[in-house]
């Protein structure tokens, strides 16, 4: 930093304010990165929870029994058909009024629940599509070989389907990561909330630059990891 400043004297006039801004941006980094932890934790926890829920929803939607498939379809319809922001408000503000026992004090937990429930609906569709993309002929072959439905699912369908799920799940994860910025509206200190605080307290709109940069870096890292995973798993094709 010292070296950078001593360099400033020898630079053209327009470089001065630029360096000054750069210096401020770097100064904001620690508090931004701290808030980033919340963003990351919320994204990862939500997607992991949603995945578990989505497996059941997907299998339920595929089920031939209407008593199982209809409620699952209704769930997906509801959570894909209403805005995520509204769902967040509903869980944080409305639910405690309806059922006092469900008063979620922690903003983080409320956000986690809202995101997990919402993302599960999208992941369920991804999982269902991947399962149903497996060629029907293989299912017939498995049946002709005497496998039960559950064996066919476990030994034939899922080992192939989960590889096909990885690119769309990666996509969904990146979307969730960006959508978590919505939680700033219920004053949960995520990266977006912290950015807004700095912007208003320091009266500097410059803070949006490092904030977006952080989002971009996280997205890039996760996309890279998912790409590697996808390559590794597609050996037989």
């Amino acid at each position: 930093m010292e070296a950078l400043l001593s360099l400033a004297g020898r630079l053209p006039e327009w470089a001065g304010p630029l360096l000054e801004n750069l210096k401020r941006m770097i100064g904001w980094m620690p508090s931004l990165l701290k808030a980033t932890q919340t963003t990351l934790l919320l994204s990862v926890l939500s997607v992991l929870t949603a995945l578990v829920l989505a497996v059941f929803l997907a299998l339920g939607k595929i089920s031939k029994r209407k008593i199982i498939s209809k409620p699952c379809a209704a769930y997906v319809f509801f959570f894909r058909g209403t805005p995520l922001l509204m769902q967040l408000f509903f869980i944080y503000y409305t639910l405690p009024m309806l059922i006092p026992a469900l008063n979620i004090k922690s903003r983080f937990v409320a956000a986690w629940i809202a995101f997990a429930l919402n993302v599960a609906a999208y992941l369920a569709e991804i999982i269902r599509a991947a399962i149903q993309s497996i060629d029907k002929g293989q299912l017939e072959a498995a049946k002709a070989l005497g496998m039960t439905q559950w064996q066919t699912m476990r030994l034939i369908v899922i080992p192939q389907a989960y590889r096909r799920m990885i690119p769309p799940i990666c996509n969904e994860f990146v979307m969730v990561l960006k959508d978590t910025s919505l939680v700033s509206i219920i004053a949960l200190t995520d990266l977006t909330y912290q950015t807004k605080m700095i912007a208003s307290n320091k009266a500097s709109a410059m803070v949006y630059i490092p904030a977006m940069f952080i989002y971009l870096v996280i997205t890039a890292v996760f996309t890279f990891i998912f790409n590697k995973l996808e390559k590794k798993l597609s050996v037989y094709e």
Binding site: D135, G137, Q138, E140, A141, A142, K143, A144, L145, G146, M147, Q151, L155, I156, P159, Q160, V235, Y236, E237
Partner: protein
């Protein structure tokens, strides 16, 4: 004693009647080829034997055990038997499909082992030994660790035959096994089937390969519009057809082959 017996099998898809009172008996060791124009119900007949299609009415015996008995109109199977028992009887039928239907995420060896270990509950070593000997039998010993996508169509179909044989079926059902193959690959699959027939396997083969039917079949069945029109030994079937439709069919298909 019959290996497979069907009586008055009926099957329709919505309003389309695909099988109309099809009755056929296949003796142990017999090789029966079913030929006929597309849409005749040949594949549907084959698929209803092992439950891939559910018949609307009729009776099916496998190895003299009645497994399907449905009345016209009610469509309910009157045969009540535990699921496990039914499964065990259906395992006497092995099936080979037009499009091979191999498991693409498993190697050749694993394709043959998976049902042996998970359905027949054989040990790893026993299943592996069986798989290796079957791969040798169909001439694929050098492809043991290849994935299906690395095999030619003919090799894939031979692998599919080995996979079905691994379950020790008493009857092999072939559903147009060479229709999806390039012409130069048809021979290798037919050769494996011919050897199988010579070894005494009971076989029902739906096919368009008239030369194979003439050569390997004990009896050839002509199906059209969901009914069996004519059946006779190949010598008679091809040289002295009685039915006009069969004559017409033979004239058209045999001309195409020349």
């Amino acid at each position: 004693m019959s290996m497979i017996r069907t009586e008055n099998l009926c099957k329709s898809f919505h309003s389309l009647e695909v099988l109309k009172d099809v009755s056929l008996t296949v003796e142990p060791g017999e090789v029966v080829c079913i030929v006929g124009p597309s849409g005749a119900g040949k594949s549907t007949y084959l698929r209803s034997l092992n439950g891939l299609e559910t018949i609307n009415s009729g009776k099916i015996w496998i190895d003299d055990v009645l497994i399907e008995d449905r009345d016209k109109g009610s469509h309910v199977n009157k045969v009540k038997m535990p699921k496990q028992q039914r499964l065990a009887i259906l395992l006497e039928l092995g099936m080979v499909f037009q499009r091979f239907n191999l498991f693409p995420h498993l190697t050749a060896l694993q394709n043959i082992m998976i049902a042996q270990t998970k359905v027949r509950k054989r040990g790893e070593a026993e299943a592996r030994e069986k798989a290796e000997s079957l791969l040798r039998r169909v001439g694929l010993s050098d492809k043991i660790n290849e994935y299906p996508s690395k095999l030619s169509g003919g090799q894939q179909q031979r692998l599919a035959i080995a996979r079905a044989l691994a379950m020790d079926p008493k009857v092999m059902l072939f559903d147009e096994p060479t229709s999806a193959l390039d012409p130069e690959l048809v021979g290798e699959v037919l050769n494996v089937m011919k050897k199988l027939a010579e070894d005494g396997m009971t076989m029902i083969v739906v096919t368009h390969e008239m030369a194979f039917a003439a050569d390997a079949a004990d009896r050839v069945v002509f199906m059209a519009d969901g009914v069996i029109v004519e059946q006779s030994p190949p010598s008679e079937f091809f040289t002295n057809p009685k039915n006009d439709r069969l004559r017409d069919f033979l004239r058209r298909t045999l001309r195409k082959e020349e």
